[in-house]
């Protein structure tokens, strides 16, 4: 372990503070999914991935990550800044004119840590597969990670990719699903039911593990275990239960905070629940 669980939880608390402050700062953005994935992103960037913050696009020799559900950019930007890809002060520019921190992640502004634009949903799994196959051609044994939203699985391109990866033994790929059961118009089970994702992925030929994405001990353990499953002929899926808005009580468990920003009072109430562990930007 590079960090103790307590240390990782402290970092995740700061990441959550960053998320609500960023979204409040521009009065737009997506706090719900970002908060739900704060523990996962902290575990990935501070504990699990072998990576350098001296950013190189090709990522040769290091683990690389793709965010497919690009709207949870606040948690991505915070994880990148807090792990050293760029100055944390730049988080204050989120969604503002002339910023490298666009509403959805992009390579267009050359922000270190971003390797593909995402936001239009359903494309990240394919990109991650391509990057994983390039690693195989390069005889590079590092791992490719990708995060997808659960609602995003309603996009058909995902299922093309989900079919392709096992057929081609893309076993250096660990996909995680932010399984919070919520999407813009309501619970996924009401909007368009996902049914059993575990059964679906297993039927397509994936090795599926499950985890609690809001329990640091569990998510770290799951991601370390997932890594031991690489190189065994199957892509790996981490079906990760999360709670949208996790860490801020009045945002938790509802799609209502998918894409709205807190006002001043709500920001204060949220920050009161999230200890500052590193310094605020």
């Amino acid at each position: 372990m590079k960090h103790t669980i307590n240390e990782l939880e402290d970092i995740a608390s700061q990441v959550r503070r960053d998320i609500v402050r960023m979204v409040h700062g521009c009065q737009s953005g997506h706090p719900g999914g970002s908060l739900g994935c704060a523990d996962f992103m902290t575990a990935l960037y501070f504990e699990v991935m072998n990576h350098t913050t001296d950013f190189k696009m090709d990522g040769i020799g290091e683990d690389i990550f793709f965010l497919s559900n690009g709207h949870i950019s606040p948690v991505f930007y915070s994880a990148l800044a807090r792990s050293g890809y760029f100055e944390v002060s730049e988080l204050a520019t989120f969604r503002k004119l002339n910023s490298r921190l666009q509403g959805h992640p992009t390579t267009h502004e050359h922000l270190p840590g971003i390797r593909i634009a995402s936001g239009s949903l359903g494309q990240g799994m394919s990109v991650a597969i391509g990057a994983a196959q390039a690693k195989k051609l390069n005889k590079d044994n590092s791992t490719v990670y990708v995060l997808l939203g659960d609602g995003e699985l309603q996009e058909g391109q995902n299922w093309e990719a989900i079919m392709y990866a096992p057929h081609n033994k893309v076993d250096n790929l660990i996909a995680s699903i932010d399984y919070n059961g919520q999407q813009i118009d309501g619970p996924t089970e009401k909007v368009l039911s996902l049914e059993s994702l575990q059964a679906k992925f297993e039927a397509f030929g994936w090795h599926v593990i499950t985890s609690n994405g809001n329990d640091m001990t569990d998510i770290v353990k799951a991601l370390h275990y997932a890594k031991t499953l690489t190189g065994k002929g199957k892509p790996i899926l981490n079906l990760m239960s999360t709670i949208m808005g996790n860490g801020v009580d009045f945002m938790m468990g509802s799609h209502k905070w998918h894409g709205i920003a807190p006002n001043d009072e709500q920001l204060a109430a949220a920050l009161a629940q999230l200890p500052s562990t590193l310094k605020d930007y």
């Binding site: 394919s126 390039a134 079919m163």
Partner: protein, 319 residues
């Protein structure tokens, strides 16, 4: 009129296949992807020589574009292959976000473009692809005119850094360009120097423009013929230089008149050198089943249509 002859007819897609093999031999980072159309795209030779560098995607074009974008991140130079319809309209958002906006070095190689796909009909005959692709910021758009030019273009785009749309076709047509040509992206090719009218042609229409030029010469009209193989970036200097001499232009393309080469030329002229222009292009319609020759005649893309357009535009220019 400069004399052009040919000894054989070949399809431009075979030029792509030959170019892909040579690009793969020159650069070990070149890889190829195909969505279940290996034979149609003439990728067999590449696959035979580099099986580990070929990715059979299946009938899943969106996934193919995404995988290609991902492959570039590890330094690969991916060439995707499928029909033009499935290379563009079907995957427009994937190209827009994962390739163009992300500035990934993907070469989108599209066969069976236009009416000359023939009997399969309008579901497969895309006439809007040049417009779709040229609207994407940073996208280079190339439409080649014969086997040799397609082969040379394929080799050239492998050496070029950035997203490219390479458009070619199904039918066998005369091979009339230099087999040893160096393809220069963005550089017009002067097919014939003339003084009375400029004919700007791309793709399969270049040979028809040459035929038209011969007929016009017999009528005493000295046509300048320019091949624009790179529709974006457009060789504006070559077009303006010609138009300053001739004073009128006919644009020829196997594409809808909306969004194609003709509109790019019109945009240039309207801002820099307003002069009469006529369009030989499909008149905002879908195609249909038929042989390539029947379709080119029915939809107004034949040699006679170029001749008539020249007569009309010269009249408008008071020549």
């Amino acid at each position: 009129m400069k004399k052009y002859t040919y000894t054989e007819k070949k399809d431009t897609r075979s030029g792509f296949g030959a170019g892909l093999l040579e690009a793969g031999q020159k650069n070990p980072e070149v890889v190829a992807l195909c969505a279940d159309l290996v034979g149609s795209l003439k990728m067999d030779a590449f696959i035979k020589e580099f099986p580990e560098r070929f990715f059979q995607i299946g009938i899943a074009e969106a996934n193919m574009i995404g995988i290609a974008a991902g492959l570039t991140i590890g330094g690969k130079v991916p060439f995707t292959g499928t029909f033009a319809n499935f290379s563009t309209g079907r995957v427009y958002d994937q190209i827009r976000q994962s390739v163009a906006y992300s500035n990934k070095n993907v070469k989108i190689c599209a066969s069976h473009a236009g009416l000359t796909l023939g009997e399969d009909g309008a579901t497969h005959q895309i006439l809007e692809d040049i417009g779709l692709m040229k609207m994407l910021p940073g996208m280079t758009v190339i439409n080649t005119c014969d086997y040799n030019q397609t082969k040379a273009a394929t080799i050239a785009i492998a050496e070029f850094e950035g997203p490219v749309y390479l458009r070619f076709g199904r039918p066998v047509i005369p091979v009339f360009t230099d087999p040893d040509q160096k393809f220069e992206i963005g550089k017009a090719w002067m097919v014939n120097e003339g003084t009375d009218v400029t004919i700007v042609a791309t793709g399969h229409m270049v040979w028809k423009a040459i035929e038209a030029g011969e007929q016009l010469a017999e009528m005493g009209i000295d046509a300048e013929i320019i091949n624009i193989h790179t529709i974006k970036p457009l060789d504006e200097a070559a077009i303006l230089k010609s138009l300053k001499k001739t004073g009128c232009v006919v644009t020829c393309e196997e594409h809808n008149k909306f969004g194609g080469l003709g509109e790019s030329v019109a945009r240039l002229l309207s801002t820099e050198l307003p002069l009469p222009q006529e369009f030989v292009a499909v008149n905002d319609s879908f195609g249909e089943s038929g042989t390539p020759d029947q379709l080119m005649t029915k939809y107004g893309l034949d040699t006679i249509n170029i001749v008539e357009a020249v007569q009309k535009v010269m009249k408008r220019a008071n020549k």
